[in-house]
């Protein structure tokens, strides 16, 4: 049976693509972006998350291990993040909201982590969704072999594709990976006439410059992404770093004026 490790399934998402969507979050990522707001998505194994401030010291979790996926803390202080799921399980949840997708031109979004790392599972799920005409979106950082893309292209209606920075040195420094493969895959996606929506996280001191945005714009000039969305860095993931015992790299939040300036670059022809 085909399984994958999933850390969340959110029904009624308004933010992960067009219309009303269900977003499936895959666990495991091959990038280590310093600004990642889903740090629990990085490891491909189940993890214990512990929110110290909520703990009453009841002791029920004293023998807890990562394998106890069904454990329930009564105070929401401790939880096992990441659960092995079958294609059928996930598909059953996705299809529950079909009428909401149909009414709103929404669908399902596979996100993460990097959902493409569990490609066979993803492919099977995408295929099943397409069989019952559910719109599918794949949210990816793109740092996987082109073969992976080729496998899912026929079943993917939309790619939500991240570009972090055009400067490869900066990219390597802040994500632990080169951007060459990412940009090449993006080109190929356009060449295969895939529908692509570009998402650029705006991280002060990393990529929040006019020059950077111009380069990205120039790169995209020959192509026709359906949308280019700039996502300002936020600190809403910080408590999760603490819960996982991970180190945090903190950035400033970009100002409204800065976001307007950078957005302006893409609005002018």
């Amino acid at each position: 049976m085909n399984t994958a490790i999933i850390f969340d399934i959110q029904r009624n998402s308004f933010v992960d693509g067009p219309g009303i969507r269900t977003t499936v979050f895959f666990k495991g990522c091959n990038l280590k972006c310093k600004w990642c707001h889903n740090p629990e998505s990085q490891s491909s194994k189940p993890q214990i998350m512990f929110y110290k401030d909520k703990c009453t010291g009841c002791g029920r979790c004293k023998d807890l291990t990562e394998k106890d996926a069904e454990f329930v803390c009564f105070n929401d202080a401790k939880k096992i993040c990441g659960k092995v799921q079958t294609v059928e399980n996930v598909f059953d949840i996705i299809r529950k909201d079909k009428i909401f997708y149909e009414t709103s031109n929404g669908g399902v979004t596979f996100s993460g982590g990097e959902c493409m790392l569990q490609i066979d599972f993803l492919r099977e799920l995408l295929k099943k969704c397409k069989e019952i005409n559910i719109h599918t979106a794949v949210d990816t950082a793109g740092s996987v072999s082109w073969e992976y893309f080729a496998k899912i292209l026929p079943y993917t209606d939309l790619f939500l594709y991240d570009i972090k920075t055009f400067n490869n040195d900066v990219h390597k420094k802040f994500t632990d990976a080169s951007n060459e493969l990412i940009l090449n895959n993006l080109k190929k996606l356009f060449e295969h006439e895939a529908t692509v929506s570009i998402r650029i996280p705006i991280i002060p001191t990393v990529n929040d410059t006019v020059e950077e945005m111009r380069k990205i714009k120039e790169f995209l000039a020959p192509y026709k992404p359906i949308n280019i969305e700039l996502l300002p860095y936020h600190k809403m993931g910080e408590h999760k770093y603490m819960a996982l015992g991970m180190n945090i790299t903190s950035f400033n939040i970009p100002s409204k004026e800065k976001m307007e300036e950078l957005n302006g670059i893409f609005q002018h022809k």
Binding site: V15, T103, S104
Partner: protein, 707 residues
Amino acid sequence: MDERIESLVKKTVSGKMYVYPVKTEYDRCDLFLPPIKMSAKRVCEYIRNQEPLIVAESCFTGLIKFDGSVEGDVFNRSGHVNFGIACNNFYNKPVDNLLTFEWQHSAGDFAKIINGGIVSIKDEINKSIEKHKNDAEATQFLETQSDICDALIDWACKCSEKALSFSKTVSNEKYKKNLEKLSRALKNVPKKSANSFYEAILSLYVCYGLIPDSIGLIDRYLYPFYKKDVEKGILTKEDASEYLQELFLMLQARIHISSDRFYRGGESHFCVGGYLENGEDGFNELSKLIVDSLMELPTWIPQISLRWTPKTPHEVLHYMMDCERKDPNKRIAFVNDVPRINGLMKYTGFSHEKAVHYTMIGCNEIAMPGGIVFGFDPMNIVRCVQNTFFNRSDDIVKAKTFNEFYNIFQEEMFNDLCEADKIGKGFQTIRERDCNLVSSIFIDGCIESAKSVTQGGTNTYIAVGLLIGISNVIDSLSVTKQLVFDEKRITMEQLIDALRNNWNGFEDLREYILKEGLFFGNDDDFSNGVANRFFKSLDNWNTGDNYLKKPLVFGNLVGYNEHHKFFGDNTKATPDGRFDGDMINFGIGQSKGKDRNGLTALLSSVAKCDPYSILTGPSVTNVLLDEQLVKKDENFEKLVYLFEAYFKMGGTHFQLTYVSKEDLINAKKTPDKYKNLRVRVSGFSDYFVFLNEGLQDEIIQRTTHAR
């Protein structure tokens, strides 16, 4: 807004447009008359003795208010002695923690008066007198109705004369002409058929005081007048809007400013849109004008429901939800015609042609034009869960399967429904001791049968039952099935023990239930299945073998009162994790974060739970949304689609409140800082800080949906 209306608004919101009743000295020799004749004579004297309220800005006048010295209208029931006795004894004072007395709503058939005039009613009365000529009691009743018609015609004449004499004191030429026009029109309506849009509203305005509840489907019965006048070039959209606004201001001004009801939206509720007899959607240009006109007014009353149909254009739902989002006074709610018309046909026995004319009324009740709602007394449906676990414990421990357990529960539920029916019949017996004379001419069947609306005269009643605590029952059944029969985590004895000890010593079990219980509202097959079974049982019981001799449509609202709190106060612990004394839930939905899977799951559960359309009485679904969610227009558009899908799935009702939980908690602690925080309560809206504690707590416990 027009200057004239602006001035009327100022007067209305400062309480200056309140119609004070004029005290009437009755002829003491009327005591020689039979009671019904005496009562009618007094009503007529009272009507003729009132003073019309006319100000320089008036285009309309003629509202009557009753002061309790005679048997007044059927809604307020002032002067209804026995109704007063029932209120003192049973209003908010349940019998056996099972059933408590409630008000009854009714909607006058205003279209009939507007189109035919009082003269047509008098014709009906004369025909009925002929039919009942050998029945002295019937004839006597019909004569009272004829007398009241005459008094109403005289009242309109009095209003006409006053408008004319007052016009002579007014210097503003435009206002003077308005008053002269008013005086002329009152010579025609409500006595005869209205000849214009203006006269149609005037006819309604004058008659409204005799049955002051819902104005009904004004976008239907006023539309032919609107269309004709606009086509003839004698009415502009602006004029029509002003007339509507003055009508709405009267509905607001009717309540005294010192009453908390002045700020509550449940006092007058009507609908726009909905199916027409020909199967098309009825939302028309007048519907939009009505909504626009009301939204311009900074008032609280009346409130509107959009009757949605599968043929309602998306743009109309979007427009109404956008108005609702921007309305600081929260006057708009949404209902679905499909389950409701199914329910009215199936249970109430109306034809499709008749059912399409229903209107929402009061907080969120339903009535037909020319009809009344019977029953409607709120019942504590959680009591049968208590009886099952506390009185039938010897039987349920023997249950080997959930089926066996459920059958015992079902017996208890049926017993309670029958018991509630008996108590309800008692309430109705008291209500029937009053003979209402004032409103019967507006209720279908009363003239023909020669009986008062309160004494069985109507043929257009809807029988309604109100069940408070439905989700507690479904959750309790679902959790019992899950823990005792499926997971076998605990035995039935342990569960009974936990409840008897009010969870003392079973804290972990309770915590587990709260975290992992398969509660209603999560769109899982397990709790959905239990919900279906519960409604199926209700459907099986609902054969019409009750005191109203008609199957009921059920609802679940609490109106202005905290039934959910006082029922809860006296209901022991229940398997859904509820403590002894905790309030129970009203509406059909979920609270306290028990709906864990987001809005699509909650709405799916609600829409799917009742395939029988039995929950199509006064049923409410409250949804609390984080205001951040809809700040972006793009997200708001998705919200419109979300509720459109919910209606497509069969959801009956929704109403929205956009607020953060922190604001609600802070508002309870420091009300002075949150005076303007307006919320949807139970089919009506109100300022949060004005609500009693039980209602405030209920709203705080609703789950906030932030995505």
